[in-house]
Structures are given as structure tokens and as C-alpha cells.
Symmetry: C2
Subunit: 447 residues, 2 copies
Amino acid sequence: MHSKTPRQPSATELEPVAGNGLLDRRLLLKYGLGFGASGALATLLPAAAAPPARAPWMNEPGDAFSNYGRPSDHEDGVIRWISDNADVAGNGVSWTPLHSLEGTIVPNGLHFERHHNGIPAIDPAAHRLLVHGLVDRELVFDLDRLLRYPMQSRICFIECGGNSNAAWNRTPPQAAVGYFNGLVSNAEWTGIPLRVLLDEAGIKGEAAWLIAEGADAFAMQNSIPLQPALAEGLLALYQNGERLRPENGYPMRLVIPGLEGVRNVKWVRRLMLAAEPVMARNETARYTDLLPSGKARQFAMVMNARALLTFPASGHELPGPGYYQIKGLAWSGRGRISRVEVSADDGASWADAALDEPVLAKAFTRFRLPWRWDGQRVRLKARATDDSGYRQPQRTELIVERGHHAFYHFNGILTFEINPDGTIRHVYDAADDDGAGDGADIDAGWF
Amino acid sequence: MHSKTPRQPSATELEPVAGNGLLDRRLLLKYGLGFGASGALATLLPAAAAPPARAPWMNEPGDAFSNYGRPSDHEDGVIRWISDNADVAGNGVSWTPLHSLEGTIVPNGLHFERHHNGIPAIDPAAHRLLVHGLVDRELVFDLDRLLRYPMQSRICFIECGGNSNAAWNRTPPQAAVGYFNGLVSNAEWTGIPLRVLLDEAGIKGEAAWLIAEGADAFAMQNSIPLQPALAEGLLALYQNGERLRPENGYPMRLVIPGLEGVRNVKWVRRLMLAAEPVMARNETARYTDLLPSGKARQFAMVMNARALLTFPASGHELPGPGYYQIKGLAWSGRGRISRVEVSADDGASWADAALDEPVLAKAFTRFRLPWRWDGQRVRLKARATDDSGYRQPQRTELIVERGHHAFYHFNGILTFEINPDGTIRHVYDAADDDGAGDGADIDAGWF
């Protein structure tokens, strides 16, 4: 039962726990942020607006029911930003506006897109899936048969191996945070465990790779190690409750939790078991990093842990000093996020963020931290640690490891600078301004 | 690492664990249902279809990227079914097609609707929220200020108190299962804990109820006990990651996990703390049950546990004997679902269903059970138990408790009869055919 006279947070508890106004993440749990009782919000926020009048929309009956709803027209700025290749039809990406979203589920209309030759208009009744290669018996499935198979649901993220690649550039890219880091989305996928389909075909002893091919005009091919495919892979038929969206593989796609997006082949028509990878263009010439040693970092497909500030960050502007909730998303292809830390003084001090429950393996985790901005220039960062013990690196550390030709798999810590006028810029922080931090400028070569 | 020669399920393990072909829920975990290794699926399912040819949609570039996606045209039958009141504009409901969905998240376009006088076209910049009544200080909020407040995310269901009311009828209603049980949906809501806003206003000692009013033409009013509002209530601004949909309360609504839908006031413009409930029409004349004793069952707003078969169930037809996965959803306003049992012999024997993780309090839980249909007439049921120890009742038990004038809050066990030709009907089972099972026929009086 709620106490009518909530405990007051002590002066100490309302003091910053790290530099430049970061407050204790536990305040919300302990006091409803203590702000009501302490009046802190009133002191930290602008005065209340004018009292309400009976609104015009209350004077007549409202709009009608609909068979399938749409967002409010007032939200028509919340869109995927399209960046496609003028030279190849339907080749490019569209970015999830993570700076405008909350929680962890990305609505299907805003799930990021990566296509190589457009979205095939597949007739689900005519679509077939072939399972062959190193199997005891070839199998061919139509959708009606697959819909009778045992299914499971799994909430997980899918991130393009090329997400955030502009952060390798010499100069920090300036775009809303979702529009250079939003080739990642999180959804509840439902489908058939690949283990069920492959066991039914009978897996030969020498099989080590699963080679998948899509039914798009590019016939996207990719190789997936058998172990993760069997352990957690799904042939997904549903996305956030409804059937897959066309741009997400309708009527069927692979979902291999934790592996880079290109392995999660869409519109899948063929699953071939093999002893070796197929060495397709998108696992050799692409999604491979040339290291300083001259060796190629290939098949590095597990997406490493990262935390991404979604507010305050590029794409926002702060109206003035006072209280804010710092927010972001963290995820790891290795497992659960165990810790997210936030710094408001360019990395000199860090405070632990609160994590919304449930914290799921290989899925978005929403982190939050109360913050009191004094109106001075500050630099915000967030870094993630996962339950494998992996901690997200500095951009500089990444570049030292991957060199100046790195292009994919960027998961370095990002820094957002808030100016006294409330504008926000993406910057490379002090630790990254030492020359070693100069990545090569990249172009759209990854198309 | 996956064994190339998966263990064979024993004959015993492939034997039914309950009447009429219900199989062990653990088969999937232990053997990928064992079907691959045992060839059981091959024996339980129709032969594979013809091998694939290169499909026409692979011969030319596909469709372009989009700023906001839509479902496939092939899925245009997956819609909310609208049942509105011809006499009052915008008064009625639209039903979530639960029989066509999977997993637990309901996409925003298909979240059920219940409006009393249509969907107000609210200008979010002009909308205000007033907090007043038994408070130390009245507060008025505009959206910009609220967007700076501390937020939390919570996955939970919202169920209309009138959901499934046709199941009180003398004769079993015949409609797709979602179209008489789909006034319930499950989403990730993000918003401001009500405790934060009410503590800031200062809760006076005599306050016991929170009275909420919507900014729709009906000015929907309702009373919520202060304790659940403070413990778990949210002023929700986001739904599955994006801002609320207009039909779900844009720009702000209440979400009080576990309480009947009408308490989750949409388009909320006023929160008044009071010592007594407001005794609004929708908590006196409506959403109240007249008991055999002549007393009214009022303010019974916590939605009790239930399990709902979504497949096989009304709205589906089985193509023939063989293997199927029985699927459904379970939820409870009291807490977590602890157990779902399924019967294929009209309640004579029950088997435990598998529950998809994570199992969250006051949220949809997806249950599944493998089943081998022999093609004979069978009656399927599912029943839920929650972690408070509450177990879903027989329809008859409900009617004995609530009498013949019951209209709201139906959570009895439903029975679906599968005929040898694969057609499926909703029936009242033997236990409910004893006369006591005859509820009064209901009309649209709840409008």
C-alpha cells in the first residue's frame, strides 16, 4: 500500500553520483524519483502550462473504427530514412528512427531494411523451401505444411553488419542518431526451430555450414555455421504477432539471434547443408574487414555488445537546463546485457544506468538514468557490458585493433556534445582525438 | 554443439500423454520434437509439395524501400472486425484477430478498440493534463513537459471488461475465436509512473481513488483505486515503441496492468484524487454484474486468469489427420501464468502445455502443445492457473456464481469441437449442458 507521505530523498540521494549532474538510478524505484515529495521536478522543470479549456475535439463525435490502424498524422515525421543506391534498383538501406522511439519493440512499419535488389512480390501459395545438400533426404516445403510445424517465439534484435559504419569516418557523421545507427531493430519473431527442419531432413556427419538463399532478384546467398543455426535459429513466419512484412522476408526468413543481419536471409527458398561456406560476395568482398596485418577479418558475424544513447543525442535539442531522463538501448549478440554505464564528463566518471525489465539475451535492453543539466557544455557517453564479460570499446581501441580500412562491425562508444544553446552534435572525444582515431572516410561502397 | 545423430525419442515418448493424441510438451526441447530423427513429422504430415522452380519474382528487381511499411496484400484478411452501434456515432468495438496472430505482441494496427463516441482528433500541442482534487497543489501538464519526465516500459495486456460476453448466451456464439474473444491485446507500453505525477502534486491523506477523464466527445470518466494506480499505473505515451495510436489514446492514456480496459482511460485530460469513486455510468450501469442474490458485483475490475485456444479453434479448418501444434494465449490480471493445461477429450484428461519465455506478470503468455489428430471428432479445451493459485473455472461454475444476468467478466473455459471433416465449432461442453449452463441471451445493451 502506498504511503500517503512518501519518504523524502535525502539531500545526499539527490546529489549527483557522477560528474555533471548524473543522479542515482534507484531514485525512481525508491521515491517515484523523489521528485513529487521533494518538489525536485518542480524546481528542475519549467513552470506548468496554462490551465485546460474544454477542447474543440470534445464537441463532436470522433473518428470511426478501422480494420487496420495507422499512426497519428502528427507523427508523420517518425519514418525510416531511405538511403539507396542510384545505380542498382532496390539496393540500399532504410534506417529505424531510434531517436524517436521508446521501449524495446520496434513497430513493424519502422523495422530497418537492407535489400540488394528490391522486395520480391512473392505469392505465398507458390513459394517453396528446399532443404538439401548433406542431408539424408531432400525435403520441399510449401507454406501450408510449414504452418503446421512446431513453432516458438523469440524476442531478439537483428543488426546489419554495416550499421554505424560512418563512425569509422575521419570526421564524426552528423545525423539524427537513428539515421546513422538505426540499421538495427528488435522484434518478437515466431517460427519453426531450424533444428526441427534439419533433423527431419537428416544431418550428415560432415555437415558444418548452413547455406541459405533468398527468393529475391539478387538471390541473396549466405553461410551460417551449423551450431548457432541449430541452437537458436528460426525459420520465422511471424513478426510482432502478424505475418512477416514484405520488406522483412515475407513469407519466410531466417532469424539467427546475435548474428549480423546478412546471415538472417530473407525470402528464404533454399537451405543447403555443406562442409564449407559458399564464399558468397556478401561474406567475402563484403561484411569482411581488412586488418592492419593485411589479413581479412572474415565470418566475424556475432554482433558485439554496444550501448546507444537515444536521448539526449543527435536529432534532439534541449529546451533548457533542468531535469532530463537520459535514455538509450543496449544489446549484445553474445547474450544478456549485464551493465550499462553513462558518463556526462567525457568519460572521467561513470554512473550505472537502470535497465527496464525483462533483460533478454540477444535483445534490446532499454536503459535510463536521471540527469540534472546545469546548462553548460557537456559530453554524454554510454557503454555496455554483457554477461560474457565483454565490454564495449573506445572508438580508438577499435581502430587500433581493426586499422584504417575497417568498414563493418563498428561498436565503439559514441559521444554526444550538448552545447549551452541545447543543440547536440556527435563528436569524437578526447581519447579519440589522438590521430590514431582517424578512420578512413567511407563511401557507399558497401552497396 | 549439436549432435549429428540426434537421440531418438523412445516409442513411449512419442505416445500421447493425455487422451486423443496430446503429446509431451518437452519433445521440442529434447529432440527438436524428435520428429526429424524419428521421421514422425513425415508420418504425421502430408507428403511434400513439388520441387521449386526459379520463381518469376526473382527475374526482375523488386519493390522499393518505404518510409513506413504495411502488411502484405496477401494478408489483407487479417483485420480488426468492427461491431459498432448504429444509434451512437463511434460507439462500439473492433476485435483483434487473435486466431490469425502468433507470439504475444499485438501489432499496433490490430490492437482492439473500444470507443464510446469515436476517436478524438487531438492536437497534441494543445492537449493539457490537469492533476487536481485531494492534492497539495494542482498541476497542469503539456506534452512537452511530460516528455521530459522519468519513464518506464511495461509489457502487459489490456482486456475489455465485456470481452467474450457472448459466451454467456444460451447458445454458443459461432465466430472466429478472435471475433468473440479478441477485446484483449498485449503491447509494450512506455510512460510516466502515475506515482511520480501524483507525488509531485502531493497526495492528501483522505485520497483513496483516482478519477480519470478522457478528452473524447463522451468525456469517458472512470474511477481507479489509488493503490494499483500508484503501484503499477502508467501515463502511457508510447505503444510498441512508437507514440500511441489515435484509437489507443493519442497523445496519452492510462495503463493500469491487470485492470479491466475501461479503467485504462484513453485521451486522458484530467486526473482527480478523491475519497470516493465518481460512480460514472461505466462503473454503475455498465461493467457491473447483477448477481443471483440481487446484489451488484461492482468494481470487480481485476481481470481473472484465462487460457484461450487460438489454434485449432473457431475460424480455422483442419486439412486432415496428422500432426498439429495446439496454440493459445493465457493471461491473468493477478500476476504470472503458472500453468496451462489442455484437454482433447472434453476434460476427461489434461496435459501441461509448454509456455514460451519470458512469462511476464499481467501479460500474454503463449502456450503450445504437440498433438496428433486421428481424424475423429474431438473437443479441445485449455485452462489457466496463475501464481496467485487462481484456476480458470468451468462456464457452469461461473454461471452458478454470477447467475443468469451476468454480462461482463466472462473467463470460463471454452470448448472447440473438431468434426471429422476438419470444421470447428464452439460448443458448450457436457459439464455445461446441464441447464445451469444456460446463460441469458445478451444483446448490444453494453453499448
